[in-house]
Symmetry: C2
Subunit: 69 residues, 2 copies
Amino acid sequence: MNDLDLGALIKVHRKEAGLTQLELANLAGIGKTTVFDIEKNKETVRWSNLLAVLEVLNIKVEFKSPLPK
Amino acid sequence: MNDLDLGALIKVHRKEAGLTQLELANLAGIGKTTVFDIEKNKETVRWSNLLAVLEVLNIKVEFKSPLPK
DNA sequence: CATTTTTTACCGTTTAAGCAGTAAATGTAA
DNA sequence: TTACATTTACTGCTTAAACGGTAAAAAATG
């Protein structure tokens, strides 16, 4: 209902960077299991862990609101 | 280094919606403590809890990558 | 084909997020 | 000012996320 598949987006970028799940986990400073969970769209992961992965893969996060600044 | 203050963004939108932290927590189906933590930029909160708050406040999340689709 | 790598999956253990309750501090309104 | 509402802060408990280890599928490589 949100965007289509954040897990898939991350996976594509990981592959593009030539990284395995384990390598990405080490670079992000998190466990391999968590990387696996994130790519499987498990949403109960920590925001900080998701952020760490996104940073390694150079994916920016933007929050769009209907409110003017 | 990311965006400036997601907590503040959420707080502004919460106020705009005329909600207290407790009301927002109930609407999002999470605890009041977590709403407080989120507005204080605690990044170890669950991604699902952050999503729930954003959804109530009608704030969209976008992931921007340098990769073409 | 066989071999290696990677992914998926499950299992204990540890750790801390989540939570309600409470209370104090801050803010707001009468 | 007083009274009420809200936020901030702390406490203890419960629960599950995070984790490494292991192993079995699945993919990739020779």
